[in-house]
């Protein structure tokens, strides 16, 4: 079984995002970019399934600008076998990404897609669900545990009140939550090896996908900032302030 893992190049999670002065977006030029952390978890899970003999091949795909090839090389250093870069503008919308992935699916015929549950830039949490819808496949989102057996994938999902176990027929789409696994660090020899792994480059238009945005960004603004309050010296003082100043207890 082949597994396809889409990966996104995003502002590194350690960098505090800065809103552009003209309010058109968040600054991404001259900022450290990395693989979306949830996508690292997805890559790790796919590689583990290959190591267990469940998967035969792991293909990583990124849809974005040329520099996304670095993200794909990172995924291959973690153990993915080959990569497909689909060139488009930076950070296309989930609907367009899902359509590109559907076209990739028709070419590659995977048994499973594993995606990160959300990208930490636009926080959409939508692409996996949308891809599953377009393909007419089942979906196991927010996965904390994944077991593939007998033509099905059993997914333990993180839900609001606890966890939920579902069983989905293959082919299927799974989205990775935080605790699915701890992604490995790529070793230097594997980083070197990844440079020689195959990478195919396509243009979104070649796949016949309309990448036009449906959402226009009117403005991007900083949220109101909270001011630091006061440090109090004792529990007694805290209780007094909560009672009489904040009037919250």
């Amino acid at each position: 079984m082949k597994i396809v893992v889409p990966v996104k190049r995003v502002v590194d999670y350690n960098i505090k995002p800065r809103v552009k002065a003209d309010g058109s977006g968040v600054e991404t030029t001259g900022v450290k970019m990395s693989m979306n952390p949830f996508d690292e978890i997805a890559v790790e899970e796919a590689v583990r399934l290959k190591e267990k003999g469940v998967a035969s091949e792991v293909v990583v795909v990124s849809i974005g600008v040329q520099q996304a090839q670095d993200t794909l090389r990172t995924a291959m250093a973690m153990g993915a076998d080959r990569a497909i870069l689909v060139l488009s503008e930076e950070s296309p919308e989930p609907l367009a990404v899902a359509k590109v992935l559907k076209a990739i699916s028709e070419k590659e015929q995977p048994g499973l897609f594993i995606l990160g549950k959300q990208a930490i830039d636009d926080d959409m949490n939508a692409t996996g669900q949308m891809l599953a819808g377009l393909l007419g496949w089942g979906q196991g989102t927010f996965a904390g545990k994944v077991d593939v057996a007998d033509g099905r994938v059993k997914v333990s999902r993180e839900i609001d009140g606890g966890t939920e176990d579902i069983s989905v027929a293959l082919p299927a789409v799974v989205t990775a939550d935080l605790r699915l696994n701890e992604p490995r660090y790529a070793s230097l020899p594997n980083i070197m090896k990844a440079r020689k792994k195959p990478m195919e480059t396509l243009k979104a238009e070649e796949l016949g996908v309309d990448m036009a945005r449906r959402l226009t960004v009117v403005s991007v603004a900083e949220p109101p900032q909270r001011q630091a309050g006061v440090k109090v010296g004792s529990v007694g003082e805290l209780v007094e302030k909560l009672r009489n100043e904040a009037k919250v207890i």
């Binding site: 989930p94 819808g133 979906q139 909270r226």
Partner: protein, 307 residues
């Protein structure tokens, strides 16, 4: 204009954030709601003021709010509506994007403010920026952040209840089991007070030190990602960018350093109290009241002081 709101529910109760979605939808016009499964919930939904019709999906395939049948059902009903809403809950986030894709619509997740029928505000980058976006899609498919809108009241309405015909089901997924944490405490997302613990609690056993305090305050218990990753408490306790987003009247953070992704989940709380032994912890930059010290002394003392 009429909006359809998916009302998700758990153990016979409508999720509070789904009631917030009703409030959001009612800003645009008439509201119909969709209840999948539990007939008793459909009855409860009929009493929500502002709701004019309850669509009840009674068929057994909808009992567990699985994404595939529920998204197909929403698509089958979508023709009558300009806007389709759900809470940004586990169910809403699972189902609505799938329905949106089937409708060829780009969904708008986590809406915190409605500017007009086409224009919405949503946080991006873990709440470090607020984006105002305008949709060119004919239908809008949105999820609503519960902490940004008041919950619709439970009583006062008298909507009609209509049973809807099932839509074609792909039969590709099956519910196996659900494991909910037993708790007599209020729901984390709707509690007036939240008592939260981080890595500073040190272990699963020691985390229990927060319980008497939470009991005294009638509070829900939350946790940072570090505490969940360390196994002190299960995932459903997590407050943050990828966990629950809360905005209680009072949020007490014990042994939580205040990583950006945690702050994203609680910085809209009205009053924040932080207790940490590190005076430089970033949590103090958002706290109204801070105490630098040992939480294992401060928590029992605070519990005692509230007697």
């Amino acid at each position: 204009m009429t909006a359809l709101v998916l009302l998700d529910h758990e153990e016979g109760r409508i999720r509070k954030s789904a009631l917030s979605a009703v409030t959001a939808a009612s800003q645009l016009g008439d509201v119909h709601v969709l209840v999948a499964g539990d007939a008793a919930v459909a009855q409860v939904a009929a009493a929500i003021p502002g709701v004019t019709k309850v669509l009840h999906a009674a068929d057994a395939q909808y009992a567990h709010e699985l994404a595939e049948p529920l998204a197909a059902l929403i698509v089958s009903l979508a023709g009558n509506y300009d806007h389709i809403f759900a809470a940004a809950s586990a169910v809403g986030k699972n189902v609505l994007p799938r329905a949106a894709a089937l409708l060829d619509v780009q969904p708008i997740p986590d809406v915190v403010s409605i500017v007009d029928a086409n224009t919405f505000v949503r946080p991006i980058y873990a709440g470090n920026a607020l984006a105002t976006v305008r949709s060119s899609d004919a239908k809008k498919v949105l999820t609503v952040r519960g902490s940004a809108f008041d919950a619709a009241p439970a009583e006062g309405g008298s909507a009609s209840i209509e049973t809807v015909a099932p839509a074609a089901n792909l039969n590709v997924s099956e519910f196996v089991a659900v494991h909910l944490s037993d708790s007599e405490r209020p729901e984390l997302e709707s509690a007036r007070v939240v008592v939260s613990g981080g890595r500073g609690l040190q272990s699963e056993e020691k985390f229990h030190i927060l319980e008497p305090l939470a009991d005294k305050l009638g509070a829900a218990i939350g946790a940072s990602r570090a505490a969940v990753d360390s196994g002190f408490v299960p995932n459903e306790f997590q407050v943050g960018q990828t966990g629950k987003i809360v905005a209680p009247e009072l949020y007490l953070a014990f042994g939580i350093s205040g990583a950006i992704q945690h702050l994203a989940g609680m910085k809209d709380s009205r009053v924040i109290v932080a207790v940490n032994k590190d005076p430089e912890a970033p949590i103090f930059q958002v706290a109204d009241y801070g105490i630098v010290g040992d939480l294992f002394e401060i928590v029992p003392a605070l519990t005692e002081a509230l007697n």
